[in-house]
Amino acid sequence: MSDIFVIVEHRLGEIRDITFEMLWKAGELAENLSHSVSAVLLGHEVSSIAEDLSDRADQIIIYDDERLKNFSADLYKEIIAGLIEETKPPLILIGSTSWGMELAPCLSIKTGLPLATDCIDILSENGRFIAQRQMYNGKIFANVSFAETSGCLFTIRSGVFPKDKIGDRQAQKIQKGFPLIDIKPGKTFVEFVETAAGDVDITQAELLVSVGRGIGEEENIALIKELAEALNGVVSCSRPIVDKNWLPKYLQVGTSGKSVTPKVYIAIGISGAFQHMAGTNGAGTIIAVNKDPKAPIFRTAHYGIVDDLFKIVPVLKDKVLEAKKG
């Protein structure tokens, strides 16, 4: 029986959701292929984390050491490469997260194993694993396979698999010593920094009017603010608007911004990249205004308007004011 490896991602003592999602997928694949699931846990004082994973894997391979207190792609790479060499797992899952995006490519070169990044599904065909992923901002899907190898690395997009438990498992915990690797990591952790909070909290808003790169120029943001004001809603935005310094970071929705839960989310000139939409999963109703009928946002929005925002937004504002008066 061979093992599917899941590299556990945890931060500040908490298991990150991506870990549960990967364990779900690993569990599903393992059942169909009669493999077992191994969670690979690196950190310091991680026994409670191991405990929380004990019904989701068949094995938890634990490296607990002071030097692993903070995530280090350098140390993770060395230790996991050694473990791969020793056990030759056919499939290794890593989160397509900031940390995973640093670790996985290094590990691929180090071990010689091929890598598929940001996968949204894993198919298994005649003993081979095939990655399903997206290109061109989600406008194209691709299936990627690998040349003959002993194993392969997949990074998994957050939010594509359930966080639930799958199957009946009781993990055996295997404590490993810190392998004596005489490497000094080239990067040293200093501290975490939080985004400065602002005068509004978009996570509390009932109605968000969200603006994206389609707005074109900074001065056009006034249009969105006026609409939000008429609706008594709050302005939020996609990342490029923050990157350009047109609106502050605390108004950004998405994986590197905030997750929001309004009753209604109006997305204006936003294409619907998954990093943006990941922040809107908790929205009741999503309304999208975009002039590109093939924009990915129309796949997830509830209502869509395929038109120029500059034609729609001013008229909508007037209609709202009218309705509120009447």
Partner: protein, 260 residues
């Protein structure tokens, strides 16, 4: 401070109907407009900002055909000192790993303290070239970086994590850093600027010169098939003139209880 920046020219896909090629291995690109990958635009700007502050040189590199020189000229116009294009013939025979091998072969013979790449490219979105190169060249690294400060023989970086959290680290030089959007405000490039930069050095190298054979560049990842996204139920599209659409929207907003 010598900085090498790896850049890529990518197609613009907004408002275009992407057409899948006959082999189902990619999309037809002959009708598409191309630009410098957004992440790379921030990367080249960051290199030039550091050069302006601390002195040194900036070299931009791409692997591609003659058309791809367009993005190198742009980098030169922004302030890069020189550019290198690797002519590699039919690019579809490489995966990211092949590109990493080629880029590493070029970079290893250049003087550098820092190597930058974008976090990912807008077209295939693999996001692996930077960190693979770091490992291939055995360099220290920091990824998804939104702030850089030089210190003595070191660089202090802020990496973007999820949910708006940043992670500050110190990395010993030389190092490879992947640059995230928003780290700076890339400067505007005029047509005149691009014309002026035509005098700057743009060197073309081929694979033989670099001493890499096709055998070493054999892809590990194979695209089995590309296809259009599976149909979903999708949004209910509101149609009509703006007035009618706005009216329908007000009705929806009222029903959802946000018009009080």
């Amino acid at each position: 401070m010598d900085i090498v920046v790896c850049v890529k020219r990518v197609p613009l896909t907004e408002e275009v109907d992407l057409v899948i090629d006959a082999q189902k291995k990619g999309v037809k690109k002959d009708q598409l407009a191309f630009v410098l990958n957004d992440w790379d635009n921030y990367a080249i700007e960051e290199a030039i900002l550091l050069k302006e502050k601390h002195g040194g040189t900036v070299t931009a590199i791409t692997v591609g055909n003659e058309d791809d020189e367009e993005v190198l000229r742009r980098c030169l116009a922004m302030g890069a000192d020189r550019a290198i294009r690797v002519e590699a013939g039919d690019m579809s025979r490489f995966d990211s790993f092949g590109i990493v091998k080629i880029l590493s072969q070029v970079v290893k013979d250049l003087p550098y303290d820092l190597v930058f790449t974008g976090v990912l490219a807008d077209d295939d979105s693999y996001g692996m070239v930077g960190m693979m190169m770091a490992e291939e060249l055995n360099l220290n690294h920091s990824s998804m970086v939104t702030a850089i400060e030089l210190e003595d023989g070191k660089v202090r970086t802020t990496s973007e994590l999820e949910g708006g959290l940043g992670e500050v680290s110190v990395v010993d030089l030389p190092a490879l850093i992947t640059i995230q959007t928003g780290i700076n405000e890339p400067r505007y490039v005029s047509i005149l600027g691009i014309r002026k930069a035509a005098k700057k050095e743009l060197k073309v190298m081929d694979l033989a010169e670099l001493g890499v054979s096709d055998g070493e560049l054999a892809p590990r990842a194979i695209i089995e098939e590309v296809y259009l996204p599976p149909e979903t139920e999708g949004a209910q599209i509101l149609t009509g003139d703006p007035d009618k659409i706005a009216g329908d929207l007000v009705e929806i907003l009222t029903k959802k209880g946000v018009m009080e």
